[in-house]
Structures are given as structure tokens and as C-alpha cells.
């Protein structure tokens, strides 16, 4: 018997609300800070909290990828670019564009749509009746690899190859964009 099935996780609501609050506060800081470096730091905090949520959802491989690739790779790229183009006067300038009111109204409409969907869909019956099945993390990485690479069970092998092609195009595109003269 796999130990995770016999030992369910402890204090799930506490950690869910802690990580969710960290993510929300991080997100709010990302869109309100004047200094782009502070925004990047808040985004890194939110991404790390999100990898904790992935662990709670029994997705250890995605959690690791989140930390290594997002918090470690993409955010370092962001910080490099901020250092390259950071100009002191952007902190003193107006931070929001002239259409900010329209943007807030559009976002509020989207939020109203979300609230309407989630409340009407959950009225009466639960939207997602939960079986409360606990699965161990032990086989997760192998199962993801089987879906990606296995010749018989792997349904995403072609998509994986396309993704590698996409990354190649992105590398070439980034070099072409950032280079002064080609």
C-alpha cells in the first residue's frame, strides 16, 4: 500500500488559504507597484506559492517545473531585461494609462461573468462532486513521462515535438529581435 493513500495530507484548508492569500497579495503587488523590480519580486513570491498549491494537488513534477522554469528561469530573464532598460524616470511617471477606467470596467464585467457562472452552476448541486481519492506522488513523474514519451500510451509525443520546434523558433526570434544588425 502506498503511504500517501493511508496518510492523507494534514491541515489542507489552512495551507490552501495561506498559499491562496500569498498568491492574491502577490498578484495585487505585481499590478500596483511602481518599481518593476518590486513587481518581479512579488510575482516570484506568487509563483512559489503556486508551486505549493501544485504539491497540494498531487502534481510534484509540475511543482518542480514551476520553481525551476518559472521562478528560476523566466523571472531571471525578466529581471535581466529590467536591469537592461530600467530608467529612473519610469518610477516618477504616470503608472496607469488613460484608458484605465475602461480597463477596470471590462475587468469588472469579466469578474461578474465569473461570479455568475460559479454561483449559478453551484446552486443546488455541487459543481464537481469530489471522490476524495488520495493518490501518491510516487508515480507522478513516471506517469507524466509515459503520457509524453511512451510509444503506445503517449498521446502527446507529437505535441512535444511541436513544442520543441516552438522553442527553437522563439530562440531565433528573440535573437533576431534583440540584435542590433543582423
Amino acid at each position: 500500500m502506498n503511504p500517501a493513500a493511508t496518510n492523507p495530507p494534514v491541515a489542507t484548508p489552512f495551507f490552501f488559504y495561506l498559499l491562496a492569500a500569498t498568491m492574491i497579495i502577490g498578484g495585487i503587488l505585481v499590478i500596483t507597484r511602481k518599481n518593476a523590480v518590486h513587481s518581479a519580486m512579488a510575482l516570484i513570491t506568487a509563483l512559489l506559492a503556486q508551486s505549493g498549491l501544485y504539491l497540494m494537488l498531487y502534481a510534484p513534477f509540475v511543482a518542480g517545473v514551476q520553481i525551476i522554469l518559472y521562478a528560476g528561469g523566466i523571472m531571471v530573464l525578466f529581471l535581466f531585461v529590467i536591469m537592461l532598460i530600467n530608467i529612473e524616470r519610469t518610477v516618477k511617471e504616470r503608472q496607469f494609462n488613460k484608458q484605465w477606467l475602461v480597463g477596470i470596467v471590462a475587468a469588472a464585467a469579466l469578474g461578474g461573468l465569473f461570479i455568475a457562472v460559479y454561483t449559478t452552476a453551484t446552486a443546488g448541486k455541487p459543481l464537481f462532486p469530489e471522490g476524495r481519492v488520495t493518490y501518491g506522488e510516487g508515480q507522478n513523474t513516471q506517469a507524466v513521462a509515459a503520457l509524453l514519451f511512451d510509444r503506445s500510451a503517449g498521446q502527446y509525443m507529437f505535441a512535444f515535438e511541436i513544442a520543441s520546434l516552438l522553442l527553437l523558433v522563439a530562440i531565433i526570434g528573440a535573437v533576431v529581435m534583440a540584435k542590433k544588425r543582423i
Binding site: G27, V30, I74, N97, G111, Y118, L148, A163
Partner: protein
């Protein structure tokens, strides 16, 4: 009270919707291109959270091997990396030409 303490898929979906909204507000209102790109990352992460939560729900129905949501999340992370690289490359080229990082000063194609 039970609905608050029993963490279900819906809790993750609501959190994902909140993060998505924060990202949309950031994209629509901020002037700094770097922060707009970071808001896009926030949106992609909200989608990823939903995908992994749905993957967990799907596992409850189809067994532990049904990890399609997690595979999708990995593909979204790949796309986010490509998008960040190209977006920041464009940003560097733009900054070299116009000496600014504000989106509302990109108005060459505006009538």
C-alpha cells in the same frame, strides 16, 4: 462552514479566476511594458492552476494515470517561456528605438 473547510476543485477555480482578473487588470491599465508582460504571466499561471486542479478531479474519475491536465500545464509553461523570450526581445528592440517602455507611446499604427 463546511464549504469553506472542505477544499474542492471549485476553490482552486475561484482562486484561478481571481488571479486571472488581476492579470487582466494589469494588462489593461498599466503603462510599463515589463509589468504588462508580468501580468500576462499571471494570467497564464491562473490557467495553469485551473488545469492542474482539473487534472486532480479527472484523476478521481479515471484513476491515477489520467494526468492530461498536468501535461497541458507543462505545455503552457513551455509556451510562457517562449512568449517571455520573444516579448522581452521585442521590448529591447522597442526600447532601443524609442527610449521608452510605455505602451501608450507605441502609437505608430494608430489613426
Amino acid at each position: 462552514m463546511d464549504a469553506m473547510l472542505h477544499i474542492t476543485t471549485l476553490h482552486y477555480l475561484v482562486l484561478g479566476a481571481a488571479l486571472f482578473l488581476l492579470g487582466v487588470i494589469g494588462v489593461l491599465t498599466r503603462r510599463n511594458v515589463v509589468i504588462v508582460l508580468m501580468s500576462i504571466e499571471l494570467i497564464l499561471n491562473a490557467v495553469n492552476l485551473n488545469l492542474v486542479a482539473f487534472s486532480r478531479y479527472w484523476q478521481g474519475i479515471h484513476g491515477a494515470g489520467a494526468l492530461h491536465g498536468q501535461v497541458f500545464a507543462i505545455f503552457v509553461i513551455t509556451d510562457a517561456a517562449a512568449e517571455a523570450a520573444v516579448g522581452l526581445g521585442i521590448l529591447i528592440a522597442f526600447f532601443r528605438n524609442k527610449e521608452t517602455v510605455n505602451v501608450d507611446e507605441v502609437n505608430l499604427l494608430k489613426w
